[in-house]
């Protein structure tokens, strides 16, 4: 029988393992994506590869971590001391810069658990620096790593590491990040072994299963409190960076008692440009929304999402197939999926759902050669915007929303390390939608380059604004502006270009939608 006391004890202990792995990874990593932006996740799995606990670092990995472990299990026999790396979006990954490292945990010679972590590396090759290109096939996006043993019998496989390092722009940094990922897993393994010294493995496994039911019960209770019915909503991705416009994402949600069916069958087919999502991303976005509706502090595990059925059509933009490009799906389309799921739910539980947040991550990738060191660099950042307003609450301004929660790189850290000068980093007044409750404002960020650079921008909500709800106004759309030889040039949402020393880029991010008509 499940003991409510031990249930709580294991809940704390298992989430502590995942959290501590995260600390090790973040503090010792080299990619700014990992160390400053926290674009990583750490998790514990049972021996079947089912999720037991995931530390809350970034929601975009919610649905996709379990897939990577399952995918590795299909093709690899794990031995003690092995670790497997992968990034193939079509075999358990998300987009290529996200590399997952999985380790088995053996107790007395038996494989009992897995630990894994996924981190966004600053570069994994491909046609542009930073590996977030305006790609037209997955092969443009960088090196594809199927599940391979990066560590074998406790030794790092130098050949594989060499192969990876030879395909990327900043190889030293890659090696450092891999070491940090491996160390994080070792920490996880140690803690699970220590836990098994305190409690029999059978008890731990029993309570892992109990925690699944626990999360499931709470999620079911939550869904139960949403009125039964069918709720639909759609919105668009403005373009795919390859000339195709207005790609529709539609969701049809059916609530029946404690079950939710979230159907994306009416969304557009996969597209030529990079905004496609593998199914894992779509799951993450849906899970994020439902997880946010739960107030309790529940472990993120398999049971948590069992009451939610997600339907996607193979070959659609939300369930794309090999070799369609995916670099932007993870960061941009995932935000739109959240927007439509929230939009549909706003019809069911209007008091609990906010208007649209900025709906983009404003991805800016910069590459060049640092004149101080003579070495190539790549830099990637995402910029916050406005959050949507909701009943009784104005939207927050200048903040990361929904599928990302990355920190900014401090201006002083940026200028120490890269040949840039930040000229402005401020809130963008009056960019939030009007309403009884106002949407949050976006950000204006202006960066001057002190050397020649190539830049890639992947952004959305430059044409179709974040929506308001119940009479609240939509927010202002974002703007991307280049200052070339002193002249301003307005750019689209997605572009790749070269800039000269002394040129600047100005990015104005969207606000959040307003809620209810004023007065």
């Amino acid at each position: 029988m499940v003991d409510p006391i031990l249930l709580e004890v294991f809940k704390n202990r298992l989430s502590a393992v995942a959290e501590e792995m995260g600390t090790v990874l973040q503090k010792s990593a080299f990619s700014s994506n990992i160390k400053e932006r926290r674009d990583f996740s750490c998790a514990v799995f049972d021996k079947n590869g089912d999720l037991v606990a995931q530390a809350s670092h970034i929601p975009v990995h919610l649905g996709s971590m379990p897939m990577s472990v399952k995918s590795a299990l299909e093709s690899i026999t794990f031995k003690e001391g092995d670790m497997v790396a992968l990034n193939d979006p079509y075999r358990g990954g998300t987009h290529l810069p996200d590399i997952t490292v999985i380790a088995p945990v053996f107790i007395d010679g038996q494989l009992e658990f897995f630990v894994a972590n996924r981190a966004h590396h600053a570069d994994i090759g491909g046609i542009t620096a930073g590996s977030m290109p305006l790609s037209k096939t997955i092969y443009h996006e960088g090196l594809i790593i199927p599940p391979v043993k990066i560590v074998e019998g406790g030794e790092v496989n130098r050949w594989i590491l060499q192969l990876i390092k030879s395909n990327v722009r900043t190889p030293e940094e890659r090696e450092g990040d891999f070491l940090a990922q491996i160390s994080a897993n070792i920490t996880g393994i140690k803690r699970l072994i220590q836990l098994s010294e305190r409690y029999p493995v059978s008890d731990i496994q029993f309570y892992m299963e109990a925690l699944n039911s626990y999360s499931k019960r709470i999620m079911e209770d939550r869904i139960n409190r949403i009125p039964d019915g069918e709720y639909s909503f759609y919105d668009f991705m403005e373009d795919d960076g390859a000339g195709n416009r207005d790609i529709k994402i539609q969701v049809d949600i059916k609530i029946e008692g404690s079950k939710a069916t979230v159907d994306f069958s009416n969304s557009d087919p996969q597209t030529e440009g990079n905004i496609n999502c593998v199914r894992a991303i779509t799951l993450s976005a849906v899970y994020y929304v439902f997880r946010s509706l739960v107030r309790e502090d529940i472990p993120t595990n398999k049971g948590c999402f069992e009451p939610i059925q997600v339907i996607t059509k193979k070959g659609s933009v939300v369930d794309c197939q090999h070799p369609y490009p995916v670099a932007g799906g993870n960061v941009e389309t995932s935000q739109r999926i959240v927007d439509v799921v929230l939009g549909a739910l706003s019809k069911a539980i209007p008091d609990e759902i906010p208007s649209a947040s900025q709906g983009t991550m404003n991805n800016l990738t910069i590459g060049g050669v640092n004149p101080k060191t003579g070495k190539p660099f790549t830099y990637y950042e995402t910029i916050g915007g406005g959050m949507g307003a909701s009943l009784g609450v104005d939207g927050e301004s200048g903040i990361q929303s929904h599928m990302t929660n990355t920190l900014n790189t401090p201006v002083e850290a940026l200028e120490f390390e890269y040949p840039f000068m930040v000229e402005r980093y401020s809130l963008r007044d009056n960019s939030g939608g009007e309403g009884l409750y106002r949407g949050g404002d976006g950000i204006i960020r202006q960066i001057k380059f002190l050397t020649d650079v190539e830049i890639t921008v992947i952004s959305e909500r430059r044409r179709i604004p974040p929506y308001g709800l119940f009479g609240g106004s939509p927010a202002k759309v974002g703007e991307n502006i280049l200052i070339r030889d002193g002249k301003e040039v307005k750019m689209g949402g997605k572009f790749h270009t070269r800039l000269k020393k002394g040129d600047s880029i100005v990015i104005k991010t969207p606000g959040g939608g307003g809620y209810r008509r004023e007065g």
């Binding site: 499940v2 409510p4 006391i5 249930l7 709580e8 004890v9 809940k11 704390n12 202990r13 503090k27 010792s28 990593a29 080299f30 700014s32 160390k35 400053e36 926290r38 809350s56 670092h57 929601p59 030293e172 940094e173 450092g176 940090a180 160390s183 626990y214 019960r217 709470i218 209770d221 946010s292 739960v294 309790e296 529940i298 609990e352 906010p354 916050g384 959050m387 909701s390 104005d394 927050e396 301004s397 200048g398 903040i399 990361q400 929303s401 990355t406 920190l407 900014n408 401090p410 201006v411 002083e412 850290a413 200028e415 120490f416 930040v422 402005r424 980093y425 401020s426 809130l427 202006q446």
Partner: protein
């Protein structure tokens, strides 16, 4: 001269003083609207003609921030960066909150002003400060009724001239001014700006508070103020840099543990301070640890602060069965109102209720018996919840404690195991009221071999203050790949000189000042630094510390020196700690006040109750036992054994 420690708390202001070789303690009701009233009343009560040497832990700065009662403050920075405090690090503190709002900064947005000036990352002035513009701003601020100003320009730690110009002009105009290059000359503009703003925001209040205290002291008395780093500073410094006192609440206890620990030969300690709503833990590995990653009410404060980890579980933490069927404890607390069930008003079970139900807390001795507890009501509520939740009452009570202990254990793991320390090499040093009820169980879970409980654990923080040295911290970002020891020594020179000059002002001879040099290091390309003592082998030390913390090191990789740190310590005269009377192995019969069957791990054990002040040095106490004293109780479970050491500390071997 009489040493006095004065610790202002929420309910009581604690006084500890040392006179004619003896310690005295007493409590005065705090006076939150003007905390100096209680302080002065208590000092009066000491009633002596001898001069007092007072070390005071004040909550004025902390409460001004928490209650938003500081001065209207302006933030001056570079043009284009006025919103630095509003954007922060761009993240949200809660991931799954669709209506998340940040805590509003301490300054109004319209009071944030950008000046058209800039220094670059090499410390070169790209555009200088225009004095005319500053005077214009001063005029506007006056009109607005601004009292205090915080100035923080980009890269001011490399070139402070701009900030100095603004400070000079604004001080002429009568503003309270603090500048970031003086408060915390380290990189990362948001954290530095936030620290400077907190300083300016609390400055006027702290200034008048300390002035008032000073004016009311008698001739010959001296006053020093405890900082968050555990050191004392002069009232003048505290008036100028009050941010250094912002989290000084728990500092006294840690300092006390450090000094008492040294006396008994225990320099590896994990301190454990369990209060009503939360529990503070810290790890002392031969020295008092500090951190520069601290927050007050979500606002970063980068000045060095004793590294204390807090968890939301204390005596008042409420237990509840959640929707999923898991028994939770905290972070919600019953507080003083309605309080635990046993106080007669609360209707939800708390950790204290569980201890009382199990008989580990004695109703007759709770706060010396001054508080009437309603035991009948307690039993009734336990029965009700036991039926509702389907858990037998004894198991429920032990379960509440177990869950609370799991949370505290997690806190101890964060500061020990996760930082590369093995708890088996440490002793658990316990103070605060309720710690002794939980510590032995915690020690068992973490394999900590010994628990130490000092005399009067309830006023231990004030006691610790009487032992505080004068400590001043200095830092500077250098961001250099230069690891040549001689070049670094040169770079340290300036900081050291500043430290010595300041210590002279605090009344120390240069020769008597201890200087500790530290460096913040990382591998080039990382973002988090590790603080390493500066020595001939600091680079090797960094590699091995990195390995201990993160599991690997990369000796082939370039090491970057991010910050230099100097800590100046002026030793103060320490009061004597007296020995207690010696006794036999067997505790004297008059110490025994009763015997009762108590439950531990589901089994009944015959348990002896002792009065602590009747126990003598050398007495041995077999578990299970309960030791009672005013405002504190210690449990020695069946699996442990205790004895009283020569200073009266209870030492429990687990």
């Amino acid at each position: 001269m009489i040493k006095v420690g004065v610790d202002t708390g929420g309910t009581f202001t604690d006084f500890v003083y040392h006179k004619d070789g003896k310690w005295y303690i007493f409590k005065v009701l705090s006076t939150p609207s003007d905390p100096s009233k209680a302080v002065l009343e208590g000092l009066q009560r000491i009633g002596t003609d001898q001069p007092l040497a007072i070390t005071h832990g004040s909550t004025v700065a902390t409460n001004s921030v928490l209650e938003r009662k500081g001065a209207r403050t302006s933030f001056i920075t570079n043009k284009g960066f006025e919103d630095t405090l509003f954007i922060g690090r761009q993240d949200r503190k809660k991931l799954y909150d669709l209506t998340y709002r940040r805590k509003p900064p301490l300054v109004n947005r319209e009071d944030c002003i950008g000046l058209d000036c800039r220094v670059n990352s090499e410390g070169k002035v790209v555009k200088p400060v225009d004095e005319g513009e500053v005077r214009e701003v001063a005029k506007q601020l006056k009109e607005k009724g601004i009292q205090a100003v915080a100035v923080s320009f980009l890269f001011s730690f490399l070139n402070p001239t701009g900030e100095e110009t603004v400070k000079r002009i604004l001080e002429e105009e009568g503003f309270f001014v603090s500048v970031s290059s003086q408060i915390i000359p380290e990189f990362r503009e948001y954290e530095r700006g936030s620290t400077t703003v907190v300083n300016s925001y609390v400055m006027p209040k702290m200034n008048s508070y300390i002035k008032n205290l000073q004016e009311n002291l008698k001739e010959g008395d001296s006053l020093s103020i405890i900082q968050s780093n555990g050191g004392a500073i002069s009232p003048d410094t505290a008036r100028k840099e009050p941010v250094r006192t912002i989290l000084s609440g728990p500092a006294g206890g840690v300092v006390g543990a450090f000094h008492l620990g040294k006396l008994i030969g225990k320099t590896k300690l994990i301190t454990f301070d369990m209060g009503g709503t939360s529990t503070d833990v810290s790890l002392l590995n031969d020295s008092i640890p500090f951190s520069t990653e601290t927050y007050i009410d979500d606002f970063p404060v980068k000045v060095p602060i004793i590294d204390i980890h807090t968890v939301g579980a204390g005596g008042g933490s409420i237990a509840y069965l959640d929707k999923g069927g898991s028994l939770n404890v905290g972070p919600e607390s019953a507080g003083a109102d309605p309080g635990p069930v046993c106080y007669g008003k609360g209707e939800r079970l708390t950790v204290s209720d569980a201890n009382l139900f199990l008989g580990r807390l004695s109703p007759d001795y709770f706060l010396g018996g001054s508080m009437k507890l309603n035991m009948e009501r307690l039993y009734k509520f336990f029965e009700l919840y036991s039926i509702e939740w389907g858990i037998p009452a004894d198991r429920l009570a032990e379960g509440i404690l177990k869950v609370a202990n799991t949370k505290m254990e997690r806190a101890v793991r964060v500061i020990s195991i996760e930082k590369g320390y093995d708890p088996r090499e440490f002793s658990l040093f316990v103070y605060g009221g309720a710690g002794g009820l939980h510590a032995p169980f915690l020690a068992r879970e973490l394999s900590i071999p010994e628990v130490i409980i000092p005399l009067n654990p309830g006023v231990f923080s004030a006691f610790g203050m009487a032992f505080a040295d004068v400590i001043k911290d200095y830092s500077l970002t250098v961001m250099s790949e230069e690891t040549d020891i001689n070049r670094l020594k040169e770079a340290f020179g300036k900081l050291e000189e500043r430290a010595l000059t300041d210590m002279e002002r605090e009344g120390f001879k240069r020769a008597d000042v201890e200087i500790h040099k530290l460096v913040d290091l990382r591998y080039k390309g990382q973002s988090f630094e590790i603080v390493i003592p500066f020595s001939d082998r600091f680079v090797e030390d960094f590699h091995s510390r990195h390995k201990a913390l993160y599991g690997y090191s990369r000796p082939e990789k370039q090491v970057q020196v991010v910050n230099l740190r100097v800590r100046a310590v002026g030793q103060t005269e320490k009061p004597q700690i007296q020995l207690v009377a010696e006794g036999d192995k067997q505790p004297p019969p008059e110490a025994v006040v009763g015997r009762k069957k108590l439950i531990f791990d589901g089994k009944e054990y015959e348990t002896t109750f002792y009065l602590r002040d009747k126990l003598k040095a050398g007495n041995r106490i077999k578990g299970s036992a309960v030791i009672l004293e005013y405002s504190s109780t210690t449990v020695i479970p069946p699996f442990a054994e205790g004895y009283i050491d020569q200073y009266g500390n209870i030492r429990v071997k687990v």
